[in-house]
């Protein structure tokens, strides 16, 4: 399950680009690797981040997945629904299980993200 309209990183994050904003989550592949998600730690709104800064973590019972910012910018909103229902990341990783939205400060970074086909190939190669 790799939606065509999304962009991806090699750290198994997806990015939905909406003008100068982006919505970010972890991929279906990533949530399967982690197993039952029991806790999600998200950045506060207003946090200014550089690309690849670790900004969030997604925890299962016996593993922690660190999530880096796929792009530089400012965090706009964290997904409040995840504090009560972290399992949304398992159930709907590309939809209701989104992690945060951000305003993009360096649009050129976005062009370097993987498209669905490239991400699919990356996963298939064992990445």
């Amino acid at each position: 399950m790799i939606p065509k309209e999304l962009k991806y990183t090699k750290d198994h994050e997806w990015v939905r680009l909406e003008g100068d904003k982006a919505r970010v989550g972890i991929t279906d592949h990533a949530q399967k690797q982690l197993g039952d998600i029991v806790f999600v730690e998200l950045p506060p709104a207003g946090k200014v981040v550089q690309q690849r800064d670790l900004v969030a973590s997604v925890e299962s019972v016996k593993a922690v997945g660190e999530v880096g910012a796929p792009l530089s910018g400012e965090v706009l909103e964290a997904n409040a629904a995840l504090s009560g229902s972290p399992d949304l990341v398992n159930k709907d990783p590309h939809g209701q299980g989104w992690l945060f939205t951000m305003r993009i400060s360096t649009p050129t970074e976005a062009s370097a993200l993987l498209d669905a086909a490239a991400y699919e190939a990356f996963v298939a190669s064992g990445g």
Binding site: F39, E59, V64
Partner: protein, 439 residues
Amino acid sequence: MNPYLPHTPGDIRSMLDAIGVSDVDALFSDIPAHVQSRNRPLGLSARDDLAVHRHLTTLAERSTGRGLIPFLGGGLYDHFIPSVVGHILSRSEFFTAYTPYQPEVSQGTLTWMFEYQTMICELTGMEVANASMYDGATALAEAVLMAHRATGGKVVLVPCSLHPRLREVLSTYAWGAGLALHDVPYTEAGRLALDGVPDGTCALIVQQPNALGVLENLAGMKERLGKAFLIASASPIPLAVIEPPGFFGADVVVGEGQPLGNPLSFGGPLLGFFATRMEHLRRMPGRVSGQTQDADGKTGYVMTFQTREQHIRREGATSNICTNSALCALAATVYLAALGPDGLRRVALLSYERAHDLASRIAAIPGYSLPFRGPFFHEFVVRCADPERAVRKLRQAGIAVLPPSFLHPLGVHDGFIVAVTEKRTPEELDRFVVALEGK
């Protein structure tokens, strides 16, 4: 043949054959020969059980302090330990088990851990407790590290009346983490005199009762701290009848759990207890047992919130602690269950009553007084002109108190400190008073 090594020469031969090597030494060919050749034996020949027993018994009997009547405290206390505690601890299913990583065969350990966490929360007035730390000193140090992680502050407010050993261990940990300790003086009553809270403070420590034996009043302290932590280091027996720090908004309550069913043990092993609020759970060090259900819906227990711990989070863990003081925590659990609320209250009040009885009788002896007006529980400072001489007089009467030098780091040079538990009989109190009255 050594009783712990069951392999006979025949076993060894057949095992070597199965492996395909000629002798046991060949199994060590991967250790560089020049390293092996530098090994030096200790010059010890094997001893039989009787000889080992004799050697250790001889050592044990050489410590003369054992025969003295102990009026010793300073954080560790000589309370009565019901026989039932030792008998349950000697169930080897408990004491020869490892950490309960496989819950299906560890429900015994995981269940008592859950009981222990419940009892510690009840004693301290807190919401969540871990399954133990090494001792009260490292528990305090870890509480300070947790406050630093939570608030980012690097200044720790430390009472001048804090137990000197707690302070020494804390200062090692604080130096390691780059934190600064600021002294908070005490009043003439022996109570904390908190003047102000500097910027960058991550925690205020309060010891209850403090090392002078004086009970602190925690009311209003948390309110003065802002986001900085109020960390209480509490003695557990008084908590039966004293309002616990949790009721005053403490963020962390730690303490030395030895008085709960554990022997003095020449200072180790001890039991650090650690309790905090649910909002801080993810920053808490140490193991924790949680209730859940099995595949059939049956209630059971597991080690939980393990992503805080070193085996999963590695350098990002809330602490490096792994092995802790589980068996001592089991002793505390059985002790508290054996006494129940009435028994614990009685131990606390007997200690309180006898300490106050002795204190007032000492204060009536010419030349002796109680320097601190603040209320105390079961331990108090006695002032006199020549404390060394007073301690010698007690010693000659077969009574042990802490050396007066214990009080020197606390700024007291003209006194000694006395602790009383429910084990001290009226006759022993009489003997104490008579000894001091004598020449």
